[in-house]
Amino acid sequence: MTLATNEADLVAVSVGGAIAHPGFPGLPAEPYRLASDGTPFLLPTYGSIVYNVSVGDRAFGWAADCIHPGVSIKRADDNGNRGLNIFACVGNTATVMTGAAQGSKGAVTGKSGRFSEQVIVHFPREVRKKMAIGDQIVIKSLGTGFEITGHAGISFKGMSPALFKALPQKVENGVLKIGVVATVPAHLVGAGAGLTSEGGSLHMQSTDKAELRKAGLDQLRLGDVVAIADTDSRYNHGYLPGAMSIAVIGQSDGPRAGYGPGMTVVMTAPDGQLGSFSAPGTNLVTLLALEP
């Protein structure tokens, strides 16, 4: 089944960023963050080149706080960075423009939200070894404005046509259903609620591990495609019974309250226009044919 889309009308525009250095607060050199039980912790967190965590790996259990797989990029100026974060679409091709890995190709696999605002890009492990902090990366952004004919109630956010075409999908009684690994119930939606849905991430609640297991979320992998129940992400993310959002797992779990695995939302509909079905193993690694 192929749905008609407006792909031919989309404009491809370059957006660039540089590999971001990790950051910690300044003096008095208080490096700790607090876990949900109040325990101070000091662990690697978002940004930089991550050598041993890749899309396809587990989302839980790393000794890290919301780690981004692969490479994280941003721009120094806020407005330019917002352009990068919004226009970069999951599945877009990224090209290294400077440094020893110049010319290498990668793919956008996620974004991070308020307080970090980075774009997460997959590059093969061998490429990552050659990269340096500050290397410039250009993304051929394509996807903003994407629509599918006859499904006006469905909004797309940061979705490349390439990813959309690869997603398991079927139309039943006029409802577009997407194949997902799991569904996040509304009460396990955490940080990101009420924040912008143009770019950024929406995180799961992961403090209550029993509740995560009950919802079948504890085995998720980075890059997995999930549904988020009763969540309207058209203009900000928020609770709305009957709404649904579709997302990819962009970054790992972390110990902070409200900061379980981050989800990059790519589709949303407010009133039953979007559905899901179980499709175990639906992951960006295969959907985008990512090189290990």
């Binding site: 949900s36 039980d37 509304a186 009460h187 939606v189 955490g190 609620a193 009420g194 203009y235 928020g238």
Partner: protein, 292 residues
């Protein structure tokens, strides 16, 4: 022990310290609309400044405004001093105007949003100027109930504590009268922040649900209970936890937003119980306005 005995606290050990802010000016970014869930953009007042016609005890829903902050909204222009204002102030603290035409007028802290919200007597508002300094007699940080050390208290002044009607139940639980209970799945924006800084909005996007649950009858200043909400360090979903909070600002049209709920007490282990009393509002506790 009976529930008639007053609850022992460390009130005598608390330090009382002056913190100050100035009356803020509403600020609007050029072209920055606030969006309804369907994308419709509006410009609405509500935050900053002196709000002449909304006070604690008034309705939280139904204003032609967004995030309405009752009374006077003050902030400190220096960021570090402003955080001190946020972290040291407690609800129910006394305030005093220290410059301008209303110099010497006394008021009461009724909330903490991105600014500190202070209520004054009717005749004070007309004499207040943007930029007038308001000083708070801050006391409450560090407050502990001697027999309930596991129950975390946040931003409760001894004056508020004494008026909340808190009692000890026969089973050892603490009992708090509240005006309303909220379901955890509607808790939204603010999940990304630590629980010592400002509030978390309830998500009012499902208007029919708000009406069915009676949430749309919420008043500014209402005491609120939320089950499965652990607000000790951040805001986690945790089965069995209970948090007690305060409605500090009005409803919003934005997805993921709604009236603001400021954490006052929390126990991850479920040591707090509550019952519904429509009069559980700080306007009654402090004789504010004509809704007291």
């Amino acid at each position: 022990m009976t529930d008639r005995e007053p609850l022992a606290t460390n009130e005598a050990d608390l330090v009382e310290m002056a913190v100050a802010g100035v009356i803020s000016q509403p600020s609007v970014r050029q072209g920055a609309y606030t969006h309804y869930p369907d994308g419709r953009g509006v410009m609405l007042p509500g935050m900053f400044g002196v709000t002449y016609n909304a006070r604690a005890g008034d309705k939280a829903f139904g204003w032609a405004g967004d995030h309405v902050e009752p009374g006077v909204s003050i902030a400190h222009p220096d960021e570090k001093s402003d955080f001190a204002l946020h972290y040291l102030v407690a609800i129910g603290n006394e305030a005093m105007v220290t410059s301008g035409l209303a110099k010497g007028a006394r008021g009461r802290v009724t909330g903490e949003h991105a600014r500190i919200l202070v209520d004054f007597a009717d005749d004070v508002y007309e004499r207040l100027n943007i930029g007038d300094q308001v000083q708070i007699f801050a006391r409450g940080r560090g407050l502990v109930m001697t027999d309930f050390p596991h129950i975390e208290m946040k931003k409760i002044s001894p004056a508020l504590f004494a008026r909340m009607g808190i009692t000890r139940k026969g089973n050892g639980q603490l009992h708090v009268p509240v005006a309303m209970e909220l379901p955890i799945e509607i808790m939204g924006s603010g999940a990304e922040l630590n629980a010592e800084y400002v509030d978390q909005d309830l998500m009012s996007g499902d208007r029919a649900l708000m009406a069915r649950l009676g949430v749309d009858r919420m008043r500014l200043g209402d005491l609120i209970a939320i089950r499965h909400a652990d607000h000790k360090f951040g805001r986690s979903y945790r089965e069995g936890a209970v948090s007690i909070a305060l409605c500090i600002h009005g409803d919003s049209v934005m997805t993921g937003h709604g009236p603001g709920i400021l954490t006052l007490m929390t126990d991850p282990a479920g040591g707090i119980d509550f019952s519904i009393d429509p009069k559980a509002n700080i306007a009654s506790y402090f004789n504010i306005g004509d809704k007291a």
